[in-house]
Amino acid sequence: MNLLLLFVLIPILMIFCLWISRNINQVRGVMVAGSTALLILSGVLTYLYLGARADGDTAEMLFRSDWTWYSSLNIKLSLGVDGISVAMLLLSSVIVFTGTFASWKLKDQTKDFFLWFCLLSLGVFGFFITIDLFTMFMFYEIALIPMYLLIGHWGSGRKEYSAMKLTLMLMGASALLLAGILGIYFSSGATTMNILEIAQLHNIPMNAQLLFFPLTFVGFGVLGALFPFHTWSPDGHASAPTAVSMLHAGVLMKLGGYGCFRIAMYLMPEAANELGWIFLILTTISVVYGAYSAIVQTDLKYINAYSSVSHCGLVLFAILMTNQTATTGAVIQMLSHGLMTALFFALIGMIYGRTHTRDIRELAGLMKVMPFLSVCYVIAGLANLGLPGFSGFVAEMTIFVGSFEHVDLFHRVITIIATSSIVITAVYILRLVGRSIYGEVKNPEFLKLKDATWDERVSVIVLVISIAALGILPLWMNNMIGDSVLPIVNTLVSR
């Protein structure tokens, strides 16, 4: 029995309990119990992991265990985590927890909503704990499909269009991904699907790599909002219900970066070094481009979605720099962006739930009517523009310093270009805050509105605390991740 297995079993258990639960209170009970259990579990895991590392366990993956599944196809259920996955699991559990509270008031078919929500989180957790190509891909797709119903049924706005678009684009990506994975499997001798063993073998011929690296990278990159395949994200996030936006932007988009790093680049280092520059340019574009297009948006969710494009672009940008610092920064950026954007979407959801508009031209003077939410919104904004003391700063600085350490001039120059995005970020964040949070209340209707209720406060406060904690004491996280990215980076550098 492996501790990691619980990350899959608990959601399954939750799904089952939800299936048999009769009324909304039971549903809520199940969700709270389950998500809390997951939160605690990830905390325990982190503790144990750090402990094991402190005891000098230098294995690349800890908590390893294999169950043979399809022996004739070398498909195993291989579990194992390193610092990166631990961090991601922590993030996911926090967001599942807060997402539960953020959608506390959901009335319309709550049971089914949480059913699909749990399936989604099942996929997410499964993806991060497995190190077997097949199993990873399976969990990846499990995480994708519930989005359709969640957005299409419980969403808002042009929900059906957005849901279909999101699902199809991501499925298209996973189609490329599947081709890439099969390519990796067969061109590495078709003896194992275990990532570590494939990396050990390291026998994928160059021409195969040049074919399959782009497939795999783009396949994951689409989920990481890689330009020009990012257009699902604004529509999807705009239409999705709060908790789903949180989980999707917070965690699911991280699957992209994680996969790009863990599968595409780790298993095909030569091609990564060969073709890296193309994707570097693309990611640089999405960093700057996302920020610029966020400036003129008027829908809160669109602004956030585009800023997500910019920030997730930064993740891919950093991992392509292939040095320890930048990559560590990338992972921290995944964490910090996950938390920040989840906070954003939670707050937007709460504001929208009250004002029934997300248009910053109609919102004004929220600070007067709902101070708690507004203050948290300002905090989220400041975190988003990389204010010291919040996670965003740590992540961005690590990325920039790391990227600039690159010996190649081209890399340093595009680093500076990417750096310029922080100014643009400031512009749209302050524009948004100035327009909608500050100022006098324009719409008399708003004066009646109430501030956050306890359940909303729970989710928001948890998120704010985690952002601040990551921003004020980053060193332990930084070390944990830094050690884990090292083997991968070494593979990339040495080859």
Binding site: W69, S72, M138, E141, M164, M171, G172, A175, L178, L182
Partner: protein, 474 residues
């Protein structure tokens, strides 16, 4: 003559026995006897499956090489029988209707004799045997399709089927004659030695391929499919879409690997092209369908394309993944057809927009349908994902990268139209949704079986492992 040879064809023998029993029962059973007809049939079929299930790990040929028996054949036969059993269960509601209940017996007998034909087709070691099996499978099929003989649709479908079937089998026969002329023998074992890929043999092969492609409904030999599926009684359609398709695919693979092995380069190219057009055309037609049976017809066409991915490799992996795919596809498709037929029986509604808001009234049915659709679309953790993955592996192993990528991109389109049905049930609002009803125990049992299959076939690796274990010796 050594009559002990009959012991080696126990599936066929026992099936003949079942048919005989049912025939006699139909004669003696009066009005009230008919009530238990489906029960008896199910029991007999179940017994047949159990009796034949455990694959004899030996393989060989009897009747002078006319008849083959291998574990793999046993498995596929059991799978087909299993599918037939489920079809029988789902047909019950329909057969209890006033206008059909007096011909219940005919239905079962015809159905099972079709199955018997397929068995022979599968087990054949000689093209004569194959031809007899094929015809034996398709002639009763025509009558089944035209079973609702007072319904225009059913009659027209039957007519279309029999005409195209005769046309295709005529061409097939002509092809066989050419093959005979070119090789001087029609034994599967002897033909490969004499194949040198000359034009006559090529033509023969193509005629043969067209004939079998007609049954698998490969584009461009598929045009009958949609009309017949739409017109035929739903249970017959489901039988058509899973059992006969499955058997035909299996036969195609065995014959390609056994007989036309020397011409592998050529037929791989042909299959390559056929797969691409089949998947694409099937998807393109499915997108805009309104009638759900027609919709499923086209989806089954594109599914046939995916099944062929297992064929093109011509490897053991391909073989086992193909059989596995047939099984999984059968379960998922039968689940949907079960829902469709019960709804048709209860409400007569058959269009996709009739399903709007089904979830609110019949949550269980629509949940099952959603799972089945996801399985067809290849979404984990449902069985369809695994089967698709394996056939892709099979094709990829042989280096058909581009083909696999084309097929993969087609999955997006297929996902799109499957999601349209999901959307109808879950998202679309309807002012007059199908009112909620309770389905009878036969249907419910069959649906539960399908549900279990959809969920477990993939997650329980043992199923595929067993199949691939007996994958040797086709």
């Amino acid at each position: 003559m050594d009559y002990s040879q009959f012991l080696y064809m126990k599936e066929e023998v026992s099936l003949v026995g079942v048919i005989a029993i049912l025939f006699l029962y139909d004669l003696i059973a009066g009005e009230k006897g008919r009530k238990y007809f489906s029960l008896i049939t199910c029991l007999l079929l179940g017994g047949h499956i159990i009796y034949n299930f455990l694959p004899t790990s030996t393989s060989g040929a009897v009747f002078g090489g006319m008849y083959y028996y291998t574990p793999m054949m046993t498995i596929i036969k059991s799978i087909l029988t299993f599918g037939t059993l489920i079809v029988v269960m789902q047909a019950d509601t329909w057969l209890r209707r006033e206008d059909t209940k007096f011909k219940q017996g005919e239905f079962y007998v015809l159905l099972l004799s079709t199955l018997l034909g397929m068995f022979f087709m599968i087990a054949s070691g000689h093209f004569l045997m194959f031809f007899i099996g094929l015809e034996m499978a398709s002639i009763p099929m025509a009558t089944l399709i035209a079973f609702d003989k007072y319904k225009h649709d059913s009659a027209e479908a039957g007519g279309k089927y029999i005409l195209t079937a005769m046309f295709s089998s005529a061409l097939l026969l002509f092809g066989l004659s050419l093959l005979y002329g070119a090789c001087g023998t029609l034994y599967f074992d002897d033909i490969p030695a004499t194949l040198d890929g000359n034009l006559m043999q090529m033509a023969a092969f193509v005629f043969f391929l067209a004939g079998i492609g007609f049954k698998i409904s490969i584009v461009p030999f598929h045009l009958w499919t949609a009309d017949v599926y739409q017109g035929a009684p739903t249970s017959v359609t489901s039988f058509l879409s899973v059992v006969s398709k499955g058997s035909a695919v299996f036969v195609l693979l065995t014959i390609l690997m056994k007989v036309f092995a020397p011409m592998v380069q050529e037929w791989q190219i042909i299959i390559y092209g056929l797969i691409v057009v089949t998947i694409t055309i099937g998807n393109l037609f499915a997108i805009r369908q309104k009638n759900i049976k027609r919709f499923l017809a086209f989806s089954s066409i594109s599914q046939a394309g995916y099944i062929l991915l297992g064929v093109i490799g011509g490897t053991q992996l391909g073989m086992s993944s193909l059989v596995y795919y047939v099984l999984v596809y059968m379960v998922a498709n039968l689940a949907i057809f079960g829902v469709v037929s019960i709804i048709e029986q209860r409400t007569g509604m058959i269009n996709i927009e009739d399903y709007n808001g089904l979830y609110l009234t019949n949550p269980k049915l629509s949940f099952l349908t959603t799972l089945a659709l996801f399985s067809l679309a290849g979404i984990p953790p449902f069985a369809g994902f695994f089967s698709k993955f394996f056939v892709f592996m099979a094709a990829f192993e042989k280096g058909f990268y581009v083909l696999v990528i084309i097929a993969l991109l087609n999955t997006i389109i297929s996902l799109y139209y499957y999601l349209l049905l999901v959307k109808a049930m879950y998202i679309n609002k309807s002012d007059s949704p199908i009112e909620s009803f309770k389905s009878d125990c036969y249907t419910r049992t069959s649906l539960v079986i399908c549900l279990i299959g959809i969920v477990c076939l993939g997650l329980a690796g043992v199923v595929y492992e067993t199949i691939s274990l007996f994958g040797y010796g086709m």
